[in-house]
């Protein structure tokens, strides 16, 4: 009434003008992400993987491609397969994490980055060499043993295969 509503609104806008800006200058500054963040690269520990392909079975989109041969590895623990092809197609992945939930041996982890853009769609497929050689910063999603260690993938070092298991 009497124009006071408009005046009050304008004062609130002016008050907000003098607050510090909520946005940051990317890429010089970055917002810290949670340690459970489901990132783009995958961390795969081949020493733990047996080639059971549960991850490929439970992916809702069917983007994981695994080709294995009987390898004669780890014969005492009930023979693992040797994995020849392990392709994950990031271009169609929805990062739901059902593959990580499905892995019974804690060999596959979600990553923690998000800056994997490429120029071609075909280069968005992660081949097995890249999975083997990339830096392993596993996200703590669905891995309570990593949370018990208070591991933060943005800050801490890589973990090796014997530290990430249950």
């Amino acid at each position: 009434m009497y124009g006071l509503g408009i005046l009050g609104g304008m004062l609130i806008t002016l008050k907000n003008m003098f607050r510090t800006p909520f946005t940051i200058q990317y890429p010089e500054q970055e917002i810290p992400r949670a340690s459970r963040f489901r990132g783009e690269e995958f961390s795969w520990y081949e020493e733990r993987c047996t080639g059971c392909a549960s991850c490929a079975k439970f992916c809702p989109l069917g983007i994981i491609k695994i080709v294995t041969t009987p390898g004669g590895i780890n014969m005492q623990e009930g023979e693992s397969y040797s994995v020849d092809t392990f392709d994950i197609d990031i271009g169609r992945c929805m990062f739901c994490g059902l593959c990580v939930e499905a892995c019974p041996y804690d060999a596959l982890f979600m990553g923690s980055g998000f800056e994997r853009s490429k120029y071609r769609r075909s280069s968005l497929v992660i081949p097995i060499e890249e999975l083997k050689s990339s830096e392993k910063r596993p996200s703590t999603w669905f891995r309570p043993q990593l949370e018990a260690k208070e591991y933060n993938p943005q800050k801490d070092q890589d973990l090796s295969w014997d530290e990430v298991g249950r």
Binding site: Y2, G3, G9, M10, M17, P21, Q25
Partner: protein, 402 residues
Amino acid sequence: MGPITEANSYYSSLYKFFLDLEVGGVDIIPEWLAYFLAGFLVIFSIVNAVVIITTVATWAERRLIGRFHNRLGPNRWGPFGLFTPIADAVKLLGKEDTRPEGVDSWIFNMAPIVFIVPTILVFAVIPIGENTYIANLNIGLLFIVAVTTVGTLGMFMGGWASGNRFSLFGAMRAVASLISYEVPMVLSIVGVVLLSGSLSMVEVVEAQTIPFIFLQPLGFFIFFAAASAEMNRSPFDVVEAESEIIAGYHTEYSGMKWGTFQLAEFIAPFGVSAILVTMFLKGWEGPVLPSHLWFFLKVCFFWFIMLWIRATLPRLRIDQIMAFAWKILFPLSVLNLFVTALELLIWKDPTVSELWMMAGINWTIAIVCLVVISRAGRSRISTRPMLFARSEISYNQSGEVN
């Protein structure tokens, strides 16, 4: 050089400079050429100053609106992002100049020009500093009113020639609101003319012993609202409402033609602020600083207020805009004119103390009008309380149901 141009110190100094220019003892510039060159330089400098200040204002507007939104504005190109208008201009010049099928090409091409020329032309009669102006027309205010009306014609031409139903909507709304807001604007100007005794802008500035904003609060508010509506600025910007008719009359334009429309949209607030400052706030007069700087600061202040209003308020509907003009602003402007004329009849040549008495009476009338109008429209602008269905379950401290 006649007596009119002699008073203009900016022009006359340039004229004398050109006339006295000698190469080896011989006057190389005849009088008509000096006249032409001096005039051309004055016009050139003021037009360029207006356009350059507007391009810097686009950067400033984006930064300030960003701060209103609690975020940073553009700050990448150049120090603090000052090269952003250059980047904008380069981008617009490089775009394809589309022309949809079915447009009327003559009118389509002429519309941006018809739209931008009046906004710059307004600066011809406004005194920017002490004795600094392009021309001291003795019908300055009438010139301004006539010229700004032509701008809306450009808007209508753009909307009609596009061949797009949404653009036609925008154009029709523009014409409707223009016709509605001409009358209160002119009547509020007449109030100022009565007090100053002349239509010339330079004499309006000199006639203000106390600034006219104290003497004419209603006139100030009516002119502010009517001029905001004339240049389609929030909260009256239905003509180019992005959420409803996409972009109104400039939907089908691309490249530099669209850039011209946008430039004119940004020059208009400066023009209106300049007129407002000259008529109601004593123009370039001020104590310590040079007169150009005072003028610039006052214009920037009103530009900031328009920006603040734009960032905060939602827009009105077209029939509400016209209702506001005809039912509220028009009677108020007639009342303002009547009261001013009555006061000038009583005090024919008012002294300063009588002017302050007039100011007191006018402000009282303005506040009474505000209260009366708010109460009359009470059903439309009062909040309504909401009901609640109360919960029957209640809790005590230990978490059990009572």
